[in-house]
């Protein structure tokens, strides 16, 4: 028998926007003096936004649910409400079992305290009891790999160690339901994989309910069976993760034809490389920026190479269902620190119509994957030419312009009809 872990009933959340100044003070005072302020409705609406509108859903115990949507779609607000940081303006949430949330790695860490002290303090802040922490203490230390520095103040930790320790504490929470926001993209590739594996473990073996919010569609796809798509505060779609993600990517056509970061500090990446720009370059057909099946296009990548290292880059193109359509790898080369640029050319008439996404992997010394930039670009290819059912619905992963030629010979027909 399945048991409900969480039931969200018609929740809405209104936020006040704008700055606080003499006007808002006057408004507040008027409101306090008169029991019911008769401000006109339009004015009131102008000062507020509805971050969530009448959201309802249920989550069964042990389910792993991904919440996806664009920035400002209400994902974070929903998580904040479920994790009790804020309350809904209207609506009700009911649930069974303790909920812990990990909305940011390392919140509540005290730089002055040692690793050991921080494990305890952070565990307590995240809702564990002292005894429970003592029970999993060794596991936390082993997972984080900071044994040697347990009695060193965390302000002296490298950022990698800091994040590993913080994640380790959160991953060993004893609560039945875990809420995670964008916390997966921490540390180097090896640790990221370890985190993902741990997350999968938590949900499958330990039977915990997990709610993940991420822009990282690849991560959502691989972790979650079910996904919820939020758009402008409404639940647009709720169902199997693959299907929801596919519709999401198709309908939100916008998606990334380019991503650019102006400083290495704020760019995604790690100690070795930081992404500067990724871009799809082509002649686009219409306002939806689709590429015709016949148009050649190129995928550009540039990144900051921070250290002299033997480096190669792999590009993967996946179709909407997550299947890898092709993969290609650059020559391994030792680049000196600086900006490295690359380009991958796809000839016209090669891919079949559909929506695709691109991921890059960075490999050092031909063996070690140091960083994965997942689902960083998406593009849409449309059919060009005459509309024929068979032309448009051809099977297969690719559609190279390798013509299939038929010839008729002047031989007599020897078939008995």
């Amino acid at each position: 028998m399945t048991e409900t872990a969480l039931k969200v009933e018609n929740i809405s959340k209104r936020y006040q926007i704008g700055v606080y100044n003499a006007t808002s003070l006057k408004y507040d005072m008027e409101k306090a003096l008169r029991s019911k302020i008769k401000a006109n409705a339009a004015e009131q609406e102008a000062n507020h936004i509805w971050a969530l509108k009448d959201v309802s859903f249920e989550i069964e115990k042990g389910e792993v649910v991904g919440i996806i949507g664009k920035n400002g779609s209400g994902k974070s607000t929903l998580l904040k409400i479920i994790s009790r940081i804020t309350k809904p303006t209207t609506g009700l949430i009911k649930g069974n079992g303790k909920i812990s949330s990990l909305l940011e790695v390392g919140t509540g860490f005290q730089p002055e305290l040692t690793g050991r002290e921080n494990i305890y303090l952070n565990g307590l802040i995240l809702g564990m009891k002292k005894k429970q922490i003592a029970g999993v203490f060794d596991e936390i230390v082993a997972f984080s790999g900071v044994e040697k520095f347990l009695d060193t103040p965390v302000k002296k930790y490298s950022s990698g160690m800091y994040v590993r320790l913080a994640f380790a504490v959160a991953a060993h929470l004893t609560s039945e339901t875990l809420i995670i926001d964008e916390a997966l993209s921490v540390g180097d590739a090896a640790f990221q994989e370890k985190c993902m594996a741990k997350m999968k473990d938590i949900s499958s073996q330990e039977g915990k309910t997990v709610i993940v919010v991420s822009h990282h569609l690849g991560a959502v796809r691989s972790m979650c069976k079910r996904a919820l798509w939020l758009k402008e505060g409404l639940v647009v779609s709720d169902g199997k993760a693959d299907e929801v993600i596919s519709t999401y990517m198709k309908e939100e056509k916008f998606i990334y034809l380019a991503q650019e970061y102006h400083t290495a500090d704020s760019a995604p990446g790690n100690d070795l490389i930081r992404i500067k720009q990724t871009k799809v370059e082509s002649r686009f057909e219409d306002e939806h920026n689709t590429i015709s099946t016949e148009t050649p296009f190129s995928i550009k990548l540039s990144f900051w190479n921070l250290h002299q290292a033997e480096l190669s880059t792999t590009i993967r193109i996946h179709d909407i269902s997550g299947t890898c359509v092709l993969e290609s790898c650059s020559e391994s080369f030792c680049y000196s620190p600086g900006i490295v640029e690359g380009s991958f050319e796809i000839p016209g008439g090669y891919l079949k119509p559909g929506c695709y996404y691109v991921s890059f992997d960075f490999i050092t010394n031909n063996i070690e994957k140091t960083y994965s930039f997942e689902v960083c670009l998406t593009f849409d290819i449309r059919e060009k030419g005459q509309k024929s059912y068979w032309r448009e619905n051809r099977q297969g992963f690719i559609r190279p312009q390798a013509p299939f030629i038929l010839n008729r010979f002047n031989d007599p027909i020897n078939v008995a009809v």
Partner: protein, 280 residues
């Protein structure tokens, strides 16, 4: 309806009065202890004298009062040895002002944590209250040691000695309550911080910290005794030195005011916490 199923918890709508969940607070007692420990340790980490500062602070302040008010301005102390007179005022006053100054930043200083993790928000001001209670409690013990060193203690009304911790506690609760009220509004209007800091400084001069209550002119006596800290400090001195009779009525009113402020501040804090976190 859903009455058939039992839910372990519910999250309701914003703005509810009377929603203090004591059971939940108790469940987080480990965290409370840990926060107090952190607060006590961190204020003195990287200082040479360390925990000794707890004792040095009131001594320095007393010496300063002794110099300025005792020797330069020459304020009478109502027959109480000046060192003990100033120190008793300083210790009670600082418990009040420390808790007020500490709790008024409950939201502002912890915004980043409040925005990311849930735990009962009241733990923060409570942990500050207990931290100061411990710190200033140690100062209170120091006071008693010094009292016997300086030859006081002959006038103690022993049956009333039990009132001393109560008086001490109420001065802290008053600061806690006012601080909590301020914290609920500073998050939105920062101007309040400046104003409150200024008002607290002024407030010290209408409280018998560096002078005895008898110095106030008869016209203002009633108003003066309505300040809850006046009967608290005066009763404290009266029990130890019998310099004046205990003003029972004023003390009862004072305790009632403090309790009222304390309870109202808790309710206000609970009612406002969600809105405040949304706005910082």
């Amino acid at each position: 309806m859903n009455k058939i199923r039992q839910w372990e918890w519910e999250i309701g709508e914003e703005r509810q009065w009377f929603h203090i969940n004591l059971r939940e607070l108790f469940q987080y007692k480990d965290l409370l202890v840990s926060l107090i420990r952190r607060e006590l340790l961190s204020s003195y980490s990287q200082t040479i004298l360390g925990v000794l500062w707890i004792l040095i602070q009131p001594i320095l302040l007393t010496l300063f009062y002794l110099l300025v008010f005792g020797n330069i301005v020459k304020v009478p102390t109502g027959g109480i040895p000046p060192v003990l007179f100033y120190m008793s005022g300083a210790i009670i006053w600082s418990f009040f002002s420390d808790t007020l100054n500490g709790t008024m930043y409950s939201f502002v200083k912890n915004a980043h944590i409040f925005n990311k993790i849930y735990f009962p928000r009241l733990l923060v001001p409570f942990s500050l209250f207990f931290t100061y209670a411990i710190r200033n409690g140690v100062q209170l013990l120091l006071f008693f040691v010094l009292m016997f060193v300086f030859g006081g203690g002959s006038m103690i009304v022993y049956p009333l000695l039990v009132l001393i911790p109560v008086l001490f506690l109420f001065s802290g609760l008053f600061g806690f309550g006012l601080g909590l009220v301020v914290s609920a509004y500073t998050a939105k209007y920062k101007d309040l911080e400046q104003l409150v800091m200024f008002l607290v400084r002024l407030f010290m001069f209408v409280t018998p910290v560096v002078y005895p209550a008898t110095l106030i002119s008869a016209k203002y006596q009633t108003l003066f005794w309505l300040n809850p800290l006046t009967p608290i400090i005066e009763t404290f001195r009266a029990i130890l030195f019998q310099h004046a009779p205990v003003h029972v009525a004023a003390l009862v009113v004072g305790f009632a005011v403090v309790m009222l402020v304390f309870i109202l501040s808790l309710l206000l804090f609970k009612r406002k916490e969600t809105k405040i976190i949304d706005n910082i």
